[in-house]
Symmetry: C2
Subunit: 249 residues, 2 copies
């Protein structure tokens, strides 16, 4: 069985020049993981149409679903919607409902900056969310979200709750904290990896935690296999080196 | 004049499944920006050799310098060094100095996990830094850094201080905080962008700050042009809408 995959495209010069700390990849990764959708790649590009178009097309070749973050708004550097339309080969069209919405906010004297927010790729599904002035866009296999973290979270939740994301089976995760060092662990982990090719196993050392040295993360769609792999691993350690084990979906 | 460009390759399943919040892109972007090196793209890939090799080759086609983060260590999921060697077409070789280092730490009974840390691509420059057990690798146009933020920072600083990064001229940055909304700003920003094509201008709205609505960032290598663009922008605003202006390299 193939499980659905996703890519994340973060758009903004500010993310590449240290002016803003991205929060959206972590949020989206966490949420998509909980849904059983595997994020296979994330790409950060500047506010340049060619870069956005090319990165989006590349991600669409790799994954089932792409989520973009940033570049939504009325100013010159907000070019994501037009770039998505270009990448998908869809014309940008004024949406009558959005034009009405803009008029309600700004009155009848609309200029190009106002109308820009009402222009969307043909065939877009608009997804409203509470407390958000403009809807998120879903078009083809692309979800187009604003970059401001609070707005992005509302829009993502609305898209998820509308059932617009692919259905999947979440992975079970078990995390084992040990006082063993990575050098000692390595051959033991190799044996577990060889015996459980269907279980993803990550090894994450920490430098300054007095409580443990390495965090091991075991993941699989099949909960039994995770539990068996954890047992096979723990059996190989000298007594007392496992600080604790957490098991969660 | 072409200024040097960089790409950042972040490696690790944990970054794509929400288990770890990346800190390294923000650090590297900030540092490279301060050096006048433009980060053109960042890519996050899982711990898979094919993904790392392909993403690295793609970045090398785009930029002058690639910095990788993560996948360094003795366990099965630490595959970055071998993937870099493969991408660059260089054989992996045991480094005699590193073998000695490993022996000092672990004694003469070395297994494959220990020797793995001594195996590097032919032609690698090793860069030592204080308090770090193993050196960072610089090979061709690739800097290979550990993913643990503290180690990454030490290694990056050591590479920079050894003069191994391309020399450049930093950009001057001026930031203007205004109470104006983005809709009103948009046509005014368009005029500045048209008159100052050499000045990068970013517009970053915030939702919940009582002090200002939008942060405008002006950047260019030529400080005079930044100052002129800021003046041309501020002149267009009604009095009292500029909260403050910051000017910094």
């Amino acid at each position: 069985v193939a499980f659905p995959t996703a890519g994340v495209l973060l758009i903004g010069n500010e993310l590449l020049s240290g002016k803003v700390v991205d929060e959206n990849l972590h949020y989206l990764s966490t949420e998509l993981f909980a849904l059983g959708i595997d994020v296979r790649r994330a790409v950060v590009v500047p506010d340049e149409t060619d870069e956005i178009v090319e990165a989006l097309l590349d991600l669409l070749r790799r994954v089932d679903l792409v989520i973009t973050s940033g570049g939504i708004g009325p100013t010159h550097d907000d070019i994501t919607v037009a770039a998505v339309a270009q990448a998908l080969g869809r014309p940008l069209e004024l949406d009558a409902g959005l034009v009405e919405r803009v008029k309600q906010v700004f009155g009848d004297r609309l200029d190009e900056a106002h109308l820009k927010m009402a222009r969307i790729p043909r065939g877009t599904v608009l997804v409203e969310s509470a407390q958000t002035r403009f809807p998120a866009l879903v078009v083809d296999r692309v979800c187009v979200l604003a970059g401001i973290p609070k707005l992005l979270r509302r829009s993502f939740a609305a898209i998820r709750d509308r059932g617009l994301l692919p259905a999947s089976r979440p992975r079970l995760v078990s995390t084992v904290y040990v006082t063993t060092d990575e050098w000692t662990l390595a051959p033991r982990l190799d044996r577990v990896v060889a015996a459980f090719p269907d279980v993803l196993l990550g090894s994450y050392p920490v430098l300054d935690d007095p409580g443990y040295r390495v965090r091991l993360v075991f993941e699989a769609r099949d909960a039994d296999r995770v539990d068996e792999a954890v047992s096979a691993f723990v059996e190989q350690l000298p007594p007392g080196q496992v600080v604790r084990t957490e098991r969660h979906r």
